[in-house]
């Protein structure tokens, strides 16, 4: 029996994005009012959960490690020559005059392989969103185009909300919005040099780079009400005794008047509690590599993290030996495995918390925090080319 059944139904959890996506130069930019709302999760065995969104930015000390990007944009076209590139750009809808002007500079470098095209600030700003989308889809095929291969992704599609209180000037937010483009269900942004062109000093550049590391996470609280069934909550959150510590806290809060809610951080096991909402510290890389999604997921219940899970093959071997596909309703601690639809290779994993909220560490980057995230936000980040397959794995009880 194939243990790795794709659970199509899980994709149904991804509710359609409600924010309107902007497109083209004529987009109507509106800054939405600050969100004061406390959001409620759907009721379930996890109890009554409420959350607030928050945006995490990498610490300044880490952002300072990023090399200052040039104000010049480079588009790499490995295996192409000037004529092919010109043809492609014009066919995509780029203005002919600008393309030809830029080509003059680029031809200077044509003997260098692969072929590099240097679009002007004007060209980057003039192309329509559909043109940008087509060109950047091509550029995304080559890792040399770092900003296109791994663009900044705004999974909600709402630029103004995403960068609220980031310290960016409103004009800069407009620039990002104007240069962003649809990418799957999200918005992508690749034109960092073009935005930097309009910044006036180091501080503004630092603020931009820091803001671009933003990730939307959430602070999750469990409501404690007079009629709360703490026994049911204990059963759910102790995950079949894999997380024993939590039992103490439930026994405690159930007996004390005046406690209205507890931060979910108090309930999750020690290792994710230690890392939640933080960016990897340098000491986490002492063994030669930094934690990724598989390390974070497979160590979720481990009191002491096992660094073998930094090795993808070992991590997957462990997961296959200790987890199985579950057809039961998702429960606390289940693994969600994202798989590339073509190769069927696991590309990401996260841990189910409750409702549509997961615990995730996206990639090994020091710029990516350990966080709680809505599953559809996460899914949109991974669905930029082709929607990934999702599998639910549950720990085998021995």
């Amino acid at each position: 029996m194939n243990r790795f059944i794709t659970l199509i139904t899980l994709v149904g959890l991804m509710s359609p994005l409600t924010s309107t996506r902007s497109s083209g130069e004529d987009q109507d930019i509106k800054l939405s009012p600050p969100s004061l709302r406390t959001h409620a999760c759907k009721p379930g065995p996890w109890g009554t959960l409420e959350y607030h969104y928050l945006y995490l930015e990498a610490p300044s000390s880490t952002v300072d490690m990023i090399n200052l990007p040039s104000r010049n944009t480079v588009w790499w076209f490995p295996g192409k020559d000037a004529e092919q590139v010109s043809h492609f750009l014009l066919q995509s809808g780029s203005p002919e005059e600008e393309v030809r002007a830029c080509l003059e500079f680029s031809i200077l470098y044509q003997n260098n392989r692969p072929f590099k095209f240097f679009p002007s600030y004007e060209l980057i700003n003039e192309i329509a969103t559909t043109t940008r989308q087509a060109i950047y889809a091509e550029l995304r095929k080559w890792p040399e185009n770092k900003n296109h291969y791994s663009p900044i992704i705004i999974p909600t599609g709402d630029i103004s909300d995403w960068f609220r209180n980031s310290g960016l000037r409103q004009e800069t937010i407009f620039d990002i919005q104007r240069l962003s483009y649809p990418l799957g269900k999200a918005l992508g942004f690749s034109d960092i040099p073009a935005v930097i062109e309009n910044l006036s000093n180091d501080q503004e550049e630092h603020t931009l780079l820091k803001a671009l590391t933003r990730t939307r996470s959430l602070i999750l609280s469990l409501k404690i009400e007079p009629n709360t069934d703490t026994q049911a909550l204990k059963e759910y959150w102790s995950a079949g005794y894999k997380s024993k510590d939590v039992l103490t806290l439930f026994d405690t809060v159930a007996r004390i008047d005046g406690i209205e809610s507890i931060d979910i951080t108090r309930i999750i096991p020690p290792t994710p509690r230690k890392h939640l909402y933080t960016f990897p510290s340098r000491s986490l890389g002492l063994e030669g590599t930094y934690p990724d999604s598989f390390w974070a997921s497979l160590n979720f219940f481990n009191y002491f993290p096992d660094d073998q899970f930094n090795d993808f093959e070992k991590a997957m071997d462990y997961a296959k030996a200790n987890y199985e596909i579950s057809s039961s309703p998702l429960t606390f601690g289940d693994l969600l495995i994202f798989k590339d639809a073509k190769s069927n290779r696991a590309s990401h994993s996260c841990v189910f918390i409750a409702d549509d909220i997961v615990y995730s560490k996206n990639g090994r980057s020091l710029l990516q925090p350990f966080m709680l995230i809505k599953l559809d936000d996460l899914y949109n980040q991974f669905a930029i080319s082709e929607p990934p397959l999702l599998e639910v794995w549950t720990k085998i009880e021995r």
Partner: protein, 425 residues
Amino acid sequence: MLTKPSLNSLEKTTRKSIFPSFLSVTVALLCLFAQEADCQTPIEPVFRMGEALQPDEKKSSVGSWGHLEFYQLILEPSDYLLTFSSDFNKWKEGTVWKFSSLNREGIEVILDNAGIDPSLREILVSEQHLTHNPVSDLYEIRPPESVIIALTSENRKLLYPRILPHNDQNPFLSPYALPVGGLGAVIYTPTGVPQKQLDLIQQLSYKMGNTTKFADINLVLAKAQDDTERWRILKTIRRERSLSVNLRITQQSNLLHLANYWDASGKNREVLPILESVVKTSGIETLDIVHLLPPTPRKLLHTYPSPDGYGLAKEMPDCYWTAASFFSEVPPDRYLDSIDQVIENRYEKAAPPLQLGDLIFMNDKKSGKAIHACNYIAANLVYTKNGKSLGRPWIISTLEDVVSEYLSVEEMSIVFMRLRPQYKQ
């Protein structure tokens, strides 16, 4: 043969560790809590020693740490942890006091020295209750219930430390450490224990200095109706007070000031993203300070030591391990052995105002012997693990409560130490 770590083990600190005298900056205890102008106290008292929080009462404190709100929690060990307690099955043996003595007269002297009333002494040394065990060569008294109950707090304080054997399983030598204020301070929420049993425990508790101890567990468990009640008794007497602390976020919250405090001079930088985020996010009114603590206390706060956790051989995490590991990404095993070297090399006298993570050492002023260590958090709050036992969790407490718990000596000196700037952990 492997032995299970014991919940009973070392309710009080026993590690021999005397810090070099040149490190000592003695602060008279009275001075610490007083408010006289000439008293250079680095801690601003939030409420006075002995003043307990009511169950649903919130307190607050405003300072360079921001606006903190806190309320009291009662922690008790999980069922799983309690399976490591040997007391659950030992009560059937009854209460046996074992003494080493050359003869029966020696036993009488021990009882007299404990101030036991002559009429009670006569009962205890009668042939019905006092026997000699030829195998162990110890005298054994099986005291009747009425005599046990009739003993005074002073009798117990003087007599129980003489009772053998010298091991962690002996409740008279390693008694339960009840919270400051006694059992009454932690039973205002339902316990599942009948009131008459709770009254009995309080009657049998006794004072050692400022601390409250309880040793007559076999008697109390024997009087319980069933195993469920016994289980609840064991959980209840291990209850511990802690504080849940939240940082209140308002429009007036100053990120720069808050970051300056919680960053702890760069030793706690990784909490800045979440702090920055919540301050900038409208609608979030409070942040649990568990998010603002460094990785290790964040992981451990309000949990109990795991038998498969940080211990090595017989050494389990205690107050010194806890205090020295405050800024550690991963607590070094070395701290299970001793922290003397790291304190000498990496720490210096802390100048006021106190900072997040500063070490607070409590020593017997007369002998210089170390009694306890904990970490400063903010206001008069400290992060502490009181004792080495698996049954003692990592908590946030007021410094006053911690001092009270350890004030079993005539005079205590308090030393404040800070990690030198060149060290991050």
